[in-house]
């Protein structure tokens, strides 16, 4: 079963079995955003609370495979307490790590709706050092399994949308 270890790293399995920040936040004040992967039926709901330019709290709910669930868990740990700018940089860096194939997969007939709006997709993503990703680098192996990239990026695209909506004030801080 060589190859699978690249995908199912211990950190990933750990976050899958014991997800961090799983749950809900009252919305408002939190921004609640749903993401779907229409190819496989995975769903994620991200609750993100932004206060004074900082991600003060984040939770996620939904159903999905080990990759989408662990990615959401890792993401929530990584952005909690960070500034919105730092969170956006992290999203860009993470997606750059995943982007080699994602750009190609983007044309699939039932493409990931939630990623459509992200102008940062693909080639112009900044080449921030993946080393800076810490635990998140465990997801790097997913790139070798192109079909699963959408699983890994689902929660990130959903968070990006949540941050956009928070900044546009779609739900105002109560």
């Amino acid at each position: 079963m060589t190859g699978l270890e690249d995908l199912y790293r211990e950190i990933i399995l750990d976050h899958y079995r014991s997800p961090r920040n799983r749950g809900e936040l009252p919305s408002p004040p939190a921004q609640r955003v749903e993401g779907f992967n229409p190819l496989c039926g995975d769903e994620v709901v991200v609750y993100v609370q932004v206060h004074d330019g900082t991600v003060t709290d984040i939770r996620f709910a939904g159903q999905g495979c080990s990759i989408s669930q662990s990615s959401a868990s890792l993401m929530s740990s990584a952005v909690k307490g960070k500034s919105v700018t730092e969170a956006r940089n992290l999203i860009r860096t993470f997606k750059a790590m995943m982007s080699v194939h994602e750009a190609r997969l983007g044309d699939s007939p039932e493409g990931d709706v939630s990623s459509n709006g992200s102008a940062e997709d693909g080639a112009d993503a900044p080449a921030t050092d993946p080393e800076s990703l810490g635990e998140l680098a465990a997801l790097q192996g997913v790139v070798k399994f192109p079909v699963r990239i959408k699983c890994a990026t689902l929660s990130w695209n959903t968070l990006a949308q949540g941050l956009d909506e928070a900044e546009q004030g779609i739900v105002l801080d109560a």
Partner: protein, 430 residues
């Protein structure tokens, strides 16, 4: 003619008389070149035929030979190549019609792109000229999106009403309320076999009740026509839709069979060459059946390949294929139950009588994607996802299943490899 040569190439491993019990299914894999492939160092164990089947060498040869010796556009030329292409194309139509017991295959078998297009054809022509605001179409909770979305589109466009036959605890259609559901219904559009549950629906019974209620009946035969002997008269359908690629044929071609009176009365579908008898500045006269519904250059090589696929299936016999799949399904059910007990759930009717060889699995809490990924490492091809049946998945209360589906080239060793690979997934996600 090339046709007979194609026929003779069918399958070294098969008898050409129809004595189904003599077929040696254990040798059939050799007829399918792709099954000789390896993936990740393992032989391919192909368990995704419900999505798309593989092709025997005879189908590949028929298409190659057509392109190498015969190709020209159909219906248009007087020269020999064109005439031969025409004959092959029409011979395929008759062969396909024969397989489903069509009383008048020359006129009633319409080639489409796939089953989806066949259903859309009915929605765009028959339904548009027969259904209006408030008219009811009866569907079931186990339809594929191909037999849902065209009707939802019509509901949006002209306010038809959709009703749904539910399913019972053993994953069969719940017909206890059928007569009430049928009240005022103009069309029943129902699958003959679920692509998720494997359930073989009591279609003839539904059709009879529907006809009594004055409704027209469409059968989505995409899953059953490849696996179960089919006779449109015994089914009692007015329309039957299916795809070649699920029955050893090429992609890009499918069938709408319809009762001749209905087809005659329907307006054309797509407009263009081939489907007209005359075109003037101020109008056109549609061609006769079946070409009225076949605008533009049709999938000719695909039709030839489809004809060869039908020859292959017939030389084995659908009865024998069904019997083989029943045995193999029973084997899979017992092996999976023995090895995994309550850890593994099969969404579908128990036993083998009311079901085909489609096994939708849930294994412990291993997500279907992860299961399919681990299986792929062992060369096992199964599909994970919603299988284009989201209303059914909601009814089942799951987002996805991992689906293993069997066909004539599968055998017990494939099931054993599947079971071993499921066990590996269990270890990985322990």
């Amino acid at each position: 003619m090339t046709n007979s040569r194609v026929d003779q190439k069918v399958a070294p491993t098969m008898r050409t008389d129809s004595c189904p019990s003599d077929v040696d299914f254990s040798k059939l894999k050799g007829d399918f070149p792709i099954l000789g492939r390896t993936v990740h160092g393992h032989r391919v164990v192909y368990l995704d035929s419900a999505s798309s089947a593989q092709r025997p060498q005879s189908v590949l040869d028929a298409m190659d030979s057509y392109y190498q010796t015969t190709h020209a556009n159909v219906h248009r030329g007087v020269y020999t190549l064109a005439e031969e292409a025409d004959r092959l194309y029409e011979a395929a139509r008759v062969a396909v019609g024969r397989l489903i017991g069509a009383p008048d295959p020359e006129h009633e078998v319409i080639f489409t792109k796939n089953a989806t297009e066949a259903i859309n054809l009915v929605a765009a022509t028959w339904a548009r000229s027969n259904l209006g605001h408030g008219d009811v179409v009866l569907l079931t909770d186990m339809e594929h999106h191909a037999n849902i979305v065209p009707w939802l589109m019509l509901a949006e466009e002209r306010g038809i009403e959709l009703r749904w036959i539910g399913i019972d605890d053993e994953y069969r259609l719940d017909l206890s309320d059928l007569d009430r559901l049928l009240d005022g219904v103009k069309l029943v559009a129902c699958t003959t076999m679920s692509n998720v549950l494997g359930t073989i629906t009591p279609f003839a019974q539904i059709a009879e009740a529907a006809h009594r209620a004055g409704a027209v009946v469409l059968a989505d035969g995409a899953q059953s026509v490849p696996h179960v002997p089919t006779d449109v008269t015994r089914l009692g359908c007015d329309f039957l839709a299916f795809s070649a690629h699920k029955m050893l044929g090429p992609t890009g071609i499918g069938v709408l069979w319809g009762r001749r009176e209905l087809l005659e009365a329907m307006p054309p579908f797509l407009g263009g060459g081939g489907m007209i008898r005359d075109v003037r500045h101020d109008g056109f006269t549609a061609n006769v059946l079946p070409w009225k519904f076949e605008a533009g250059t049709p999938p000719i090589a695909e039709a030839v390949g489809f004809g060869a696929a039908v020859s292959y299936l017939e030389s084995i016999g659908l009865d024998a294929i069904r019997a083989h799949e029943v045995d193999l399904t029973a084997y899979a059910q017992s092996v999976l139950a023995e090895r995994f007990g309550d850890d593994l759930k099969i969404f579908g009717p128990p036993g083998t009588v009311e079901r085909g060889g489609v096994l939708s699995l849930a294994y412990r809490d291993v997500h279907p994607h992860d299961l399919a990924q681990v299986l792929d490492q062992a060369g096992v091809c199964v599909r994970a996802g919603h299988h284009c049946a989201k209303p059914l998945m909601r009814r089942l209360g799951v987002n996805a299943t991992a689906r293993a589906s069997l066909y004539l080239y599968n055998d017990e060793s494939d099931v054993d490899v599947l079971a071993d690979a499921i066990a590996e997934a269990g270890t990985l996600f322990a």
